[in-house]
């Protein structure tokens, strides 16, 4: 029984990260109608920035803030120069552009920081906490709490604020928005930056507990894609649920089925779901 809950808790912790990055993906898709293949790299660079900042003896919480800020800036640059010029043209172009960005970032990371994994040692983060007989690393608990906080904040932002409502409107009907005076370009930029920031935040959060290396983004982002597909493109709630489901399934499957095929489970689940519901479990909701 202990093992069961242990696996469950582990799954939830991973699910929180998958969910954060996946929500970024789904928002960007809902508003810009672009699949951001570089989302994993934003996560990876976020982790590296955290690592580098911590290396300079700056406290970890500030490192997190810096990572998020820098990733937002990078997101703004990518959107302005890589995506905006392409909107309206063939649908494959923006996706290819994000693939290009992904290639640049992955290889750039190898060039700049070598393929060797890096680690940050933070005492507090790695302390074990015992709750009801389950051992959880402090940082993972923080990850889950932060993620939940973010999702609550996001919900409030999208439901109550003016910008959030504008985002919902754009994701439902872009053309109509232009007519009623919503600056679609501005909303697109904000959304993309938001996605990048979420990814960066995720990367910063896992930095103390995971080995940081240039391809960590790819491995993660594919699971996030799976979550987005399952949850329904543009459907935030669906994506969050799917991310947790996938992570939990993965956690149990690794323990009971096979360690080797670890990364494959998420896809198998995704493919099975798609066979029966090509629009995802929760459907492509019209709107965020």
């Amino acid at each position: 029984m202990e093992t069961f809950f242990q696996l469950l808790v582990n799954g939830i912790a991973f699910g929180a990260i998958y969910a954060m990055v996946a929500v970024g993906l789904t928002i960007v898709f809902g508003i810009l109608e672009v699949v951001n293949f570089a989302q994993g790299e934003f996560y990876m660079v976020g982790a590296y920035i955290t690592f580098l900042v911590c290396l300079s003896q700056i406290p970890y919480p500030i490192a997190i803030a810096i990572s998020i800020a820098l990733m937002i800036i990078i997101g703004l640059i990518v959107e302005r120069f890589g995506i905006r010029p392409l909107i309206g043209r063939a649908w494959q172009l923006p996706i290819l552009a994000t693939l290009g960005v992904s290639i640049i970032m992955q290889n750039g990371a190898i060039v700049l920081w070598t393929p060797n994994p890096r680690t940050i040692i933070i005492e507090l983060a790695n302390t074990n906490i015992h709750i009801f007989g389950i051992v959880i690393v402090f940082q993972k608990l923080m990850i889950v709490l932060f993620a939940l906080a973010i999702f609550v904040a996001l919900h409030y932002f999208i439901q109550k604020t003016k910008t959030g409502k504008a985002m919902r409107a754009v994701s439902q009907n872009k053309e109509a928005c232009g007519i009623i005076g919503i600056d679609v370009a501005r909303i697109s930029t904000i959304s993309f930056a938001l996605g990048a920031g979420l990814s960066g935040f995720g990367g910063a959060l896992v930095a103390p507990v995971m080995a940081i290396h240039p391809v960590m983004g790819i491995l993660l982002v594919l699971k996030c894609f799976a979550a987005v597909i399952m949850g329904g493109f543009g459907n935030i709630k669906g994506t969050i649920y799917s991310a947790f489901i996938l992570a939990i399934v993965e956690s149990f499957a690794v323990a009971y089925v096979s360690l080797q095929y670890k990364d494959v489970f998420a896809f198998v689940v995704m493919i099975i779901i798609l066979l029966f519901r090509p629009h995802g479990m929760f459907g492509r909701k019209v709107g965020i």
């Binding site: 120069f81 063939a90 494959q92 290819l96 552009a97 693939l99 640049i104 290889n107």
Partner: protein, 320 residues
């Protein structure tokens, strides 16, 4: 056919046949052979990305399927290479049909992601199914092909010159097939689906069927390219599914000019040669490729082939 066109083709033919005679460096021959492989691989990718218009990230997987299939057939079942090669292609085609059947029903975006997932799954299978594939170490010592022809006996393919002529034949077959396909009703149907699917369906075109066809044919030639590569470098391994191949294919096809045979050929040759001249690490090279890709997409989405077509079209209009 116009005399000048015929003369040009003959000149190109003579040039191609004569390459082993005036190229003395084995290093350069090696690169030439690899550009041949990439021409086949890139054309096979263009069928899906250019003519069909779907972003498939499964091509490295088909390449690998072709490679592993032919190696295993030759080494474990002692199938003669001349038979193993087409079987490898057919097997890749069948796998593509299996993947395509569910995947091609999905939205374009889901399709891209699912094909990427497929490549990863294949990679995991090759790494972990050690009894079949020897795992992450791959299978070294792949025997060089030997073509058994009736009446002529066994023709060994061992020297660079042998390999060159062999890949040349394969390239010509591939180009020929693609050319015929594009200019046939199949090609027209594919174009119509890409341009306006609803209209194509209203005219009786079964979009799903043609999608499967293009996807399968693309996989077939990818498998052929994979098989040749494995028997050339005498090795096959999970590296055949590296994401790096996607980068290469995209650059060759997009910068070369998706949807144009000549553009893709130029792209394939250029991007096999260029990295050899840039004495830089593969990662740095890929960073540059990434930027080139971005630049091409934003400013020249038709690629070089597209630019050539534009120029030819303008000349045609002027002479009318």
């Amino acid at each position: 056919m116009k005399i000048s066109k015929l003369a040009g083709l003959i000149a190109v033919g003579v040039f191609l046949l004569g390459i082993p005679f005036f190229v003395t460096s084995s290093y350069v021959m090696h690169i030439i052979i690899f550009s041949g492989i990439y021409i086949i691989f890139a054309l096979s990718y263009d069928i899906v990305v250019g003519y069909l218009g779907m972003l498939s990230l499964a091509h490295p997987a088909f390449y690998g399927v072709g490679a592993y299939t032919s190696v295993l057939l030759v080494m474990k079942l002692e199938v003669p290479y001349i038979i193993a090669l087409p079987i490898a292609g057919v097997f890749a085609l069948i796998v593509a049909l299996g993947v395509g059947f569910p995947a091609l029903r999905l939205s374009y975006h889901s399709f891209a992601i699912v094909t990427l997932a497929f490549t990863l799954i294949m990679r995991a299978v090759w790494i972990n199914w050690v009894s079949l594939t020897n795992g992450p170490m791959g299978i070294p010592g792949v025997p060089r092909p030997s073509i058994d022809m009736p009446f002529v006996g066994a023709i060994p393919i061992e020297t660079l010159t042998d390999y060159y002529y062999f890949v040349l034949i394969l390239v010509i077959i591939t180009c020929g097939f693609v050319y015929l396909m594009i200019n046939s009703r199949v090609g027209r149907a594919l174009l119509s689906i890409r341009e306006n699917e609803v209209l194509a369906e209203t005219l009786g075109v079964n979009a799903f069927k043609y999608r499967m066809i293009a996807f399968a044919i693309g996989a077939f030639f990818a498998g052929i390219a994979g098989s040749f590569t494995a028997h050339y470098i005498t090795f096959v391994g999970p590296e055949f599914t590296d994401f790096y191949y996607v980068t290469m294919l995209l650059i060759m096809v997009i910068l070369g000019g998706s949807g144009t045979i000549h553009g893709v050929i130029i792209g394939a040759i250029a991007f096999t040669f260029i990295p050899e001249y840039l004495r830089i690490t593969p990662e740095f090279r890929d960073v540059i490729y990434g930027f080139v890709l971005l630049f091409t997409i934003v400013f020249m989405p038709g690629g070089i082939g597209g630019k050539i077509n534009e120029i030819l079209a303008k000349r045609k209009v002027r002479t009318e």
